[in-house]
Amino acid sequence: MLRLRRAPAPGPGGAGGAAAAAMGLLNFTRDPVPEAVSGDMHNLNQLSAQQFSALTEILFRFLIEPKEQVERFLTQLSDFATMNKISLGPLKNIVKSILLVPNGALKRNLSSEQVRADFIALGLSEEKASYFAEQWKVNSPTLTRLAVGQTLMINQLVDMEWKFGVTAGSSELEKVGSIFLQLKLVIKKGSQMENVYIELTLPQFYSFLHEMERVKTSLESFS
């Protein structure tokens, strides 16, 4: 992890284009931060503690369920803007800047200390930075789990249905009486679902079950 070097003018009035270059190394990203960010941090500092806390709550709720809740997030943002007499456009820019930090922090498994330090380096007040870092600490297990869940999976097994029965007879054998097991596997191939049907004999089933139990033991020993 890169160690943070404190920026020369961290106070609320220290915003400006020059501050961006003087910011030093950040934890959440190696790329240079867009110039607009310091301006956005300065504007954030103008919010009251209550307003900042409400905004933070909206942001984290969005991060926890991003895919389904984009509509809801935008609605909440515009409500917040109206209630606090802030124009929506600048608010959206501010939110974009803030979100840079948790997104980078998630990728790099940052601690709340590092998140706090990064916000301070970007120009946010200590009080607000500490508050955000606290919220980060509370939410990061959920966020990490989400990120892991989004990791690439190849032909992911999504569902399994089964039925078993007895073959009573066939065109070749009048009386059979053998047990069959049929599995339907639902597999996610890219963005589509594919159904695969297989039939197993009884010995195959027991052998399959045995192997799957071995897999489980193996997975558990690595968790």
Binding site: R108, Q150, M153, I154, L157, I198, L209
Partner: protein, 224 residues
């Protein structure tokens, strides 16, 4: 499987011309295994040349029925038509016995008509009894079914990094299933496909739960 008709038993009597019991045995096996559509070609293979002499017959024959052809020595005197009848009759007889699940000599002997040649009847019964369980397995193996599982292999990987999170240690399972399409559709060249599937630990746990339930239900059924 319909019962064997009397006319077919008459055709079976041409087996008396066979030079050895082994020739009869082999012919029985081939007739059972052949699907109805394959009986014509089988008759041709075993009696090629349609009136050709023994030497030409020998040259023309390829494959496993060669001894049979040589044995039956298709001469100008024997045209292919009775041979086809013989092959069909044997096919029907063997399939009928397997279908009914007859396992006792008396049951098989009673299928033959009164005036059937005694020794041939005993020989055929003996051959059928020798092969009955192998034939039964063959019938079961080739019955229609959903694609069948042939084999499965697995491997456990640990995911250490991805574009969404740069450091992690998440175990995951890759399962490869070798699946054979319906044998009845593919005939002699079954299509085998390999499907690789990835399971997370949660999915595996759910799957094992389901498999466990199957096992419990199977034992419940077995104990009834």
């Amino acid at each position: 499987m319909a019962a064997v008709r009397d006319g077919e038993f008459a055709a079976l009597q041409s087996l008396l011309k066979a030079p050895s019991k082994d020739a009869v045995r082999q012919l029985c096996q081939e007739c059972f295994s052949s699907p109805p559509a394959g009986l014509g070609p089988l008759a041709q293979r075993a009696c090629p040349g349609l009136g050709a002499g023994p030497e030409e017959a020998e040259q023309a024959t390829k494959g496993p029925s060669q001894p049979v052809c040589n044995a039956f020595q298709c001469s100008r005197a024997l045209s292919p038509f009775p041979f086809l009848q013989l092959v069909s009759a044997l096919h029907n007889l063997t399939r009928h016995v397997v279908y009914r699940g007859l396992t006792r000599a008396e049951d098989i002997l009673s299928l033959f008509p009164e005036n059937f040649h005694q020794n041939l009847k005993n020989l055929l019964t003996k051959i059928i009894l020798e092969n009955i369980s192998a034939w039964r397995n063959e019938a079961q193996a080739s019955q229609i079914s959903l694609p069948r599982l042939l084999d499965m292999d697995w491997r456990v990987d640990i995911k250490t990094s991805s574009d969404s999170i740069s450091r992690m240690a998440v175990p995951t399972c890759l399962l490869q299933l070798k699946i054979q399409e319906d044998v009845a559709l593919c005939g002699n060249s079954p299509v085998v496909s390999a499907l690789t599937v990835e399971l997370s630990k949660e999915t595996l746990d759910t799957m094992l739960e389901g498999l466990g339930r199957i096992r419990d239900q199977l034992s419940a059924v077995a104990n009834k």
